[in-house]
Subunit: 464 residues, 2 copies
């Protein structure tokens, strides 16, 4: 089965310009799942992917959910009914692009820019996750063109709610259990060690995302008339949230560290050996001093320790100039990154208690929980991981690293819980891709070598 591979890789080399054009086409669709005004765009982004897959011999559908629709497609492959069966997962939705004024080009009008490592595409979703989805889509295309289809059985699942907590995904997985039968899931939504060094991710942080709404007076007040007598809820909100960390950087949410496991010595040695340069990592974003828990290593803090970050805050007068108002309400978005062992429901309950414990008389606080995902680990020694390491080594000429990841990919936990599937996390993002930030980008070299890696992976998994 590996005989067609040289021709497939050559095909990918020859068609790289068209692959880039296809990615740009998809990136033009502003499929922002968090914003109801973009619901139709989400549907368009799903239709786009389904049409691509249908053109490559897949039976492809866009299936409705309670939220944004899911693309579901299957291909029998050319290897027969006993060939391995892979489930490729991706997401077509993207983060909101705000603040727009910090983008050097419009977020949904992709710009090809020459960078130090060759051309890159700048657009919201360039790497997360449209560009990464294109790595396997282009691999399918090359196998289709050269060999009439992939060498193993393939199912594709592309959802539209990853950036908003994958609200409808669990029900979808449960309802489509038969159609989603496979041997392993393959997900490209993680990063490389650097542009020359491939990586597989074997641990992921989870998340609890919340919004806190604090209210006191029945209306906005004049600070001259009421200052010194009436409760100021913005002052209060800063008092509550300013107490989130102790002096050692530990989170004060009750029960927050319950179940958090210490690193094994083996893990610590392995991660230390990676030689992660936190100073350079921070320098790239204009910082020099790491924060987080005292006495913990850099990768430990990023991959194996939970965190609490306020992602947004607002209240009172925020326009130009001054307004002497005492606001009636104030709001914040607070998210916690979780590690394996923490119970997301208990962390959510801890956030509620943390706020309630600091709430004075006359005030009310609502804590909305938008999403809860546990941190998870995936086995590092399966035949799938072995196959992926061979494919990546062949493409990059050096071994793939096994990494942790500070972010969360909720589907990994759902795939395991509902479908009993492990996930192979092979991604082509880079640290400076500005994920979720203005000027998000994807290196065209990553797109190309990612597609070549997936083409190799299919061959490795199909076997000789």
């Amino acid at each position: 089965m590996t005989q067609p591979l040289p021709a497939i890789l050559a095909h990918l080399d020859e068609t790289a310009p068209e692959a880039r054009a296809r990615l740009i086409d998809w990136l033009r669709i502003p499929s922002v799942s968090a914003q109801p005004a973009h619901a139709a765009d989400c549907r368009r982004a799903a239709d786009w992917m389904a049409a691509q897959l249908a053109g490559l011999g897949f039976a492809a559908e866009v299936k409705p959910t309670a939220g944004h629709p899911v693309v579901l497609a299957t291909h029998p492959g050319t290897g027969g009914a006993n060939a391995p069966h892979l489930l490729f997962y991706g997401h077509y939705d993207v983060q909101p692009a705000e603040p727009f004024d910090l983008w050097t080009s419009p977020p949904f009008d992709p710009a090809v820019v020459e960078g130090p490592r060759g051309p890159r595409v700048v657009a919201r979703g360039a790497v997360d996750d449209k560009g990464q989805c294109m790595t396997w889509l282009e691999a399918f295309r090359a196998w289709h063109a050269v060999a009439g289809g992939p060498p193993c059985r393939v199912t594709v699942l592309v959802e539209g709610e990853e950036e908003v907590g994958s609200t409808s995904l669990d029900a979808f997985l449960a309802e489509n259990r038969d159609a989603l039968r496979a041997d392993v899931a393959v997900i490209s939504d993680t990063g490389m060690w650097d542009i020359d060094t491939p990586a597989l991710t074997t641990s992921l942080r989870g998340m609890v995302y919340s919004q806190i709404d604090v209210r006191a007076a029945s209306r906005d007040l004049h600070s001259g008339m009421y200052g010194g007598s009436a409760r100021n809820v913005i002052n209060l909100l800063t008092q509550i949230l300013g107490d989130l960390h102790d002096e050692d950087g530990r989170v004060r949410i009750p029960g927050f560290y319950d179940g958090v496991r210490e690193l094994t010595n083996a893990q610590r040695v392995e991660w230390d050996a990676l030689g992660f340069d936190e100073a350079a990592y921070l320098r790239a974003i204009g910082l020099s001093v790491p924060v987080g828990e005292k006495g913990r290593g850099a990768l430990e803090r990023l991959w194996a320790r939970p965190t609490a970050d306020i992602n947004g805050i607002w209240g009172g007068y925020t326009g130009e100039g001054g307004k002497t108002v005492i606001a009636a309400e104030a709001h914040a978005k607070l998210s916690c990154r979780l590690v394996p062992g923490q119970d997301p429901q208990k962390v959510a309950e801890g956030i509620r208690r943390f706020v309630a414990d600091r709430l004075p008389p006359d005030c009310s606080a609502e804590v909305q929980i938008f999403s809860t995902t546990p941190g998870i680990e995936v086995p590092a020694d399966s035949r799938w991981v072995q196959a992926a390491r061979r494919a990546l080594q062949a493409e990059y000429g050096k071994p793939a690293l096994l990494m942790g990841c500070g972010g969360s990919i909720p589907v990994v936990e759902s795939l395991r819980r509902i479908l009993g599937l492990d996930s192979l996390l092979v991604g082509f993002g880079l640290e400076d891709d500005q994920v979720h930030s203005p000027n998000e980008k994807f290196e065209m070299r990553c797109l190309h070598q990612g597609a070549r890696s997936h083409a190799r992976l299919l061959a490795e998994i199909a076997g000789p």
Copy 2:
């Protein structure tokens, strides 16, 4: 000179509906001084007042400043060159009306609503300060109609930057010293004790208004990739501002209480005698427990103690749903109400130090100072105060109270410093007028009795 008074008061009674219509006409102009988009509206509001005064025999002009223009008008009066000379001050600018969705009717489409104390007008600026300006304007109108003009010399000064710190006013006063020559200033921008009980205000709090901008990373970051390593400036801003008060409600800004005088026993006895019902005051705004410095009386906290309130806060993602961002910058508006004895420049410096002292490495903070006004006291025993007390007693049938005021009227300090003038603070606002809040209103009974009071005041000051 008092002979025409009965006819003047009768004229005000007969023309009350027209007075209300004129106020509504002026309120339709959205003269929001803080918002550059409303600059032309500010000019229109100035022109409106100048035209009114010109129609009443005043020599009226709209004079440019570096900011919004000033209305300056004079009338020689009918009492000759030796009659007392009054300088009436008001402001035509209004606070921003945000948040619009909390208004029961559009803020610049005045609604006449029947309330428990008769009709009221609901609009931004209804009481602060357009409605209050109308009280003296209608008094001039009645004197003009019945007696050919006011019985004493009158100069009118109506500025358009009161709500943004009266930035251009000092220069204007200095440049127009001769045109502004008078014996005393009269200002209607304060409140009554209640709708049946008139009041003169003899102490005012000052203000320092600032904006704090905190920055750390060079761009917004993904909390999954950077949480646990990179500084979160929103967390930081809540830590800094959450530290603003100690457990006894005292402000921790360095040097904040320097120069603050303790109440005299006489003051304390007088204010206690007012029988201020703080519980009812708070109940009206949905609260039950006072905040502020422990161990201080209610009126003491409102009139004679300085405060620090965060008037606005913003940063990160504030839209619908969730976005897992670590923001690069966060902002707050912080204002301090000052009392006589505090040096506003030192308080501004204290705010800078308070922030700088709490700023960790890698972070920068800019503290912009928008305005600085000292707290001031006006003499309570002058011939002008005596005349005003007689006028108010005649109108309301009970003595006027001498009160403090928690708000600031920067012009009072400027008039004293630059022109050597004391101010007579006689106002007709009520506690529930929603000053600076949605649904600001002015009682039509206050408009009418305010106009009658000013008509009487002119007679009292002119003398028999």
